[in-house]
């Protein structure tokens, strides 16, 4: 028998930890029982036992999956109702009534702005300062209200942005940067080769596309070759610095893909980027916010002298900033001498460091914002857990 899946969404203000608890409490009061949970982002609940012969709406065998995502000071909540009966047997009115009830109860129970209330960290129970939604003790942002308050905020899902920040779409990173990279800013991620960095970069690209922002991605390989969602987007412009890659085999459109003969010929690359920028300007205008990821800086530094690389990078950053781009670059510091890395650092407004260190005898990945000029950030060390990043990623 075919199941019926109906999705709903809403946004409420507050922090994800407290909202999660409220949602779970309210759904339990509506007869749902907890099946599996991944606090504070996903919960799965069940209700009812019957299919076609259900005596009431509550009696229909239902699986409800709820996903939560923190966006700035708000939480986006996605509901996925899976009814074990065909669609024709479901009363839309009943579903709507059920959702309205859930929504109103959640809204009535969640607090408006966590910054206005006293909070504690869910992880270490440290007191969170008023005006902050981030634990300065452990670096986590999973905070909850000490006392609940009742206030407004009830709207259908609309992705909410901090207008002055460009979000990664990766909670861990966005929290540390207090929302993301300042718009039109230039951020460097220094990181060894690791999957955590790749997940963060991929999410940055996906978030750009989700938010209908144009993104230019410069690399020496076709990193998104298997990701159809990214590759087929008309908003992604790829510059591939590798003559060996067969552009014809890629799933991107020819207009959105530029190939140059490696990173050794910086002049050629620079000309190609200018041409690309002019094309983008014709399509989108100069005003809209855009992003660029320079993911071949280490190759460039290896192939060219640091003087030439610095000169090229400075011109490239200026060129893109003038056209309203926010710039993200990556560099593997283990490939270069300290002096070489130093020649590039001051070209960036901020630096996020990803590094490996031992924790309880096991190698773990951590990140830390080293600096972010003229902007708030948390300088705490945060552990990067691949699985957590992927969950945030999927949400």
């Amino acid at each position: 028998m075919a199941n019926t899946v109906i999705t709903k969404s809403m946004t409420t203000s507050g922090d994800i930890g407290a909202t999660y608890d409220t949602v779970l409490k309210k759904l339990t009061s509506l007869g749902y029982s907890e099946s599996s949970t991944t606090w504070p982002s996903v919960m799965e609940l069940k209700r009812g036992k019957r299919g076609m012969f259900a005596t009431s709406f509550k009696d229909i065998k239902t699986t409800l999956k709820v996903s939560l995502k923190q966006v700035s000071n708000n939480v986006n909540i996605f509901f996925e109702f899976n009814f074990a009966i065909p669609k024709s047997y479901i009363s839309e009115k009943d579903v709507e009534q059920e959702f309205t009830k859930i929504k109103s109860e959640i809204t009535a129970s969640t607090s408006p702005h966590i910054t206005q209330k006293e909070k504690i960290c869910d992880v270490c129970l440290n007191q969170i300062a008023v005006g902050e939604n981030f634990c300065r003790n452990c670096g986590r942002s999973a905070t909850r209200q000490k006392t609940e308050s009742v206030e407004q905020s009830n709207e259908e899902l609309a992705v909410i942005f901090d207008p002055n920040k460009v979000a990664f779409g990766q909670k861990t990173v966005d929290d540390a940067l207090y929302g993301g990279i300042p718009k039109n800013g230039v951020l460097l991620i220094t990181s060894p080769a690791c999957e955590e960095k790749e997940i963060i970069i991929t999410r940055f690209v996906e978030t750009s596309l989700d938010q209908s922002e144009i993104i230019v991605y410069i690399a020496t390989d076709d990193k998104f070759g298997q990701n159809e969602k990214i590759m087929q987007s008309q908003l992604l412009y790829q510059v591939i610095c590798n003559p060996q890659i067969d552009l014809g085999s890629l799933k991107c459109s020819a207009e959105n893909c530029v190939q140059v003969n490696g990173v050794e010929r910086l002049t050629e690359l620079s000309v190609a980027l200018t041409t690309l920028l002019n094309n983008i300007e014709r399509v989108s205008g100069q005003e809209n916010s855009k992003r660029i990821v320079i993911d071949m800086l280490s190759d460039t530094l290896l192939s060219n002298q640091s003087v030439n690389t610095r000169k090229w990078l400075r011109e490239t950053i200026t060129k893109f900033k003038q056209k309203n781009f926010t710039v993200l670059a990556t560099l593997n510091p283990h490939m270069h001498s300290k002096e070489e890395v130093q020649t590039l650092l001051d070209l960036f407004d901020g630096q996020v460091e990803i590094y490996e260190k031992e924790l309880q005898g096991e190698p773990r990945m951590f990140m830390r914002v080293k600096r972010l000029n003229n902007s708030r950030y948390s300088s705490k060390e945060i552990q990067l857990v691949r699985e957590d990043l992927l969950i945030q990623h999927n949400n």
């Binding site: 003969n261 010929r265 910086l266 002049t267 000309v271 200018t274 000169k311 090229w312």
Partner: protein
Amino acid sequence: MTVQSTQPRKLSTGIEGLDVLLGGGLPEKRTILVLGGPGSGKSILCTQFLKEGLEKYNEGTIYVSLDYSKKAFMHDMLQFGWDFETYEKNGHFLFLEGAAIRRLPQTAASVDVIYTPDDLTLEDLIDLLSLHIEKIGAKRVVIDDLTALTFRFPDDVQRRGAILSLIEALSSLDVTTVIISEALGYGIGRGINIEEYLSDGVIGMFLLKDGTRAIQISKMRGVQVDNKPHPYNIVDKVGIEVYPTETIFSEK
């Protein structure tokens, strides 16, 4: 860098980026040298200059070739979509095939006078040009290339005298002339040709070690120009494309 100029009337080269570097174009009625190695696109640049005069200003133009056959020229330029046979039929363009004059004494294809290789002197060339400039009302002239004309002057003093005579004569003909010559290397340490001192302007076209093409205006008398090297490309169906805002990152 964009150069603002209040200098003599400029003739657009037909290459937007180069005009930016020149502050509008080549100064009128001057003799400009275009230097470069083999395959650098000197002939293409010069032909674009003639084409601009033909198409935009309906000016008469002359291409004097000492090494380049007319047939090859017509064929090569057609690859960029430039149909010089039609311009020739319309009477606005003249191809003076010096190669035929020098190599085949009895068959001077495009000219009325027949020369043997040894006969073709600079004086003859000037006479010939003078005749045809008047005949078609030419405003733009290209001489391709100077090395072939001056090879018979191994002595520097004689060579200098001959080139000076040619440049003076061309100036008196009221045309803007572009002379092609071979470059002796690239960069600060490269050898300087005598003609570079004598001409009114010098544009160098160079191929760098990594394959990057660079163009540089090292001299333009009485005119403010951007004299930094900038990248350029030879683009199919377009010709020479100069990128005046771009920098050369390559090693010389």
